[in-house]
Amino acid sequence: MSRRIIVPFGPQHPVLPEPIHLDLVLQDERVVEAIPSIGYIHRGLETLVAKREYPEYVYIAERTCGICSFIHGMTYCQAVEQVMNLEVPERALYLRTIWSEYSRMHSHLLWLGLFADAIGFENLFMASWRLRESVLDVLEETTGGRVIQGSCKVGGVRRDIPGETLDRMVGDLAGFERDFKEIANVFLRDESIIARTRGVGVLSHGDAYHLGAVGPTARGSGVAIDLRKTGYAAYGKIHFKPVVETDGDCYARCAVRVKEVFSSIDIVRQAAAKIPEGEIEVKPKGNPNGECFSRAEQPRGELVHYVKGDGSRHLVRSRIRTPTLTNVPPLVKMLAGCELADVPVIVLSIDPCIGCMER
């Protein structure tokens, strides 16, 4: 009978842009158990509510993540607006929706590139990131920032998108969609990708639901949870269906992200067609006094911002529950029983954002 050994995976590893550590208990080449350790880059951002006034804290919230920063800022603002009973102008809600979807597109393209790189498909990596640049260019043009947008504020947004710019953005989406179809075709049909991902890291529907999986990790296992269906921002006025796959393997999680890029293109088109004229912000009066959980759908899944105020300029508590944190228990489950060589692909398949998780 073979001996059990423990192989450390991370915190430094070629497929990990950020540090997470797994102790992999192996029997021969098979993983029997995976024990995660985090906290290598814990920043304590949540405690900064004691040092920053609530309107300023949106800058901290945005810096939780360098990929989906806009949605962090928006979700925090939603929580404060709910506590303060602020009615955000409808145009601002549509602008938030548009920027959220551009964030999703650039995040998914970033992940697709990293995923291609992890399985040794360098050319596909470059093609994905080349296309991502065009999304970042739009974010930079419309918000002023490629990575940290800074365009969301309590009560609305800081910047408007002029009508002619919006028309051009929608026009450019046709070319973007055409180029992405070529990439999507490779991700969904290439034999080498299918060989590395089909049947690998399977997470059952039941495990995905009960272990708290969110985002493409859950939807790849047939769990149709997409917080955009709650109707926050302008999503209540947009028609779309959550993208769901049922196989629960790495291929399914990849397919969800590929198809969600097309879904995001469609949402931006709808939002651009429906966006009303009008104000883009209301001025908050007073200070937040109360508590609220605000939820939104990040590229990686359900994001929760909890805020608690006591009527002063400083919040008592900000709690950020990121999707990667709640996807760790499902990751532990899907690693059990896999081959050692598949561990990097499985870890990457949940699109881990350690910076987010470490807050």
Binding site: I35, P36, S37, I38, G39, Y40, H42, G44, E46, T47, A50, K51, Q78, Q82, Y209, H210, L211, G212, I225, L227, K229, T230, G231, Y232, A233, G236, G290, E291, C292, F293, S294, R295, E302, V304, Y306, K308, V316, R317, R319, R321, L325, T326, V328, P329, P330
Partner: protein, 126 residues
């Protein structure tokens, strides 16, 4: 409804396990656990969701009170319970995966229990 209404029920710690079991039986998924220190009291929120209906249980304990783990009901709760232990020093009893204070490798023990900031006291090594 654009946002979740705050559906919070404050309960005694002794009723926690029974209430969480009810949520599990009804098909709710665990959304998150979090802890907030208000004065010398720790508020712990347990959040659940079923078909986008958000429900929240809240217990209030002092720093010495032991809190029962819900990881026997929701396996994935261990990640939040270890986080609460490591950041706030909450004593959670019966976790299915107990990292013994080593999930978050922070320089300071229980940094959120009594947060201090640069400028208010010397940083280690200065």
């Amino acid at each position: 409804m654009i946002m979740d209404a705050d559906q919070t029920t404050v309960i005694e710690r002794d009723y926690l396990i029974g209430r969480v079991e009810e949520f599990k039986k009804q098909g709710y998924r665990l959304v998150q656990l979090n802890c907030t220190k208000v004065g010398e009291t720790y508020e712990i929120n347990y959040s659940f969701d079923l078909d986008y209906q958000f429900r929240n249980l809240k217990i209030m304990v002092d720093g010495q009170t032991e809190v029962p783990s819900i990881s026997g009901i929701y396996w994935g709760a261990f990640i939040y319970e270890n986080e609460m232990h490591d950041l706030f020093g909450i004593r959670v009893v019966g976790m299915n995966v107990d990292f013994g204070g080593n999930l978050f490798r922070t320089a300071k023990k229980n940094p959120f229990a009594n947060p201090t900031f640069r400028g208010e006291e010397p940083c280690p090594g200065e």
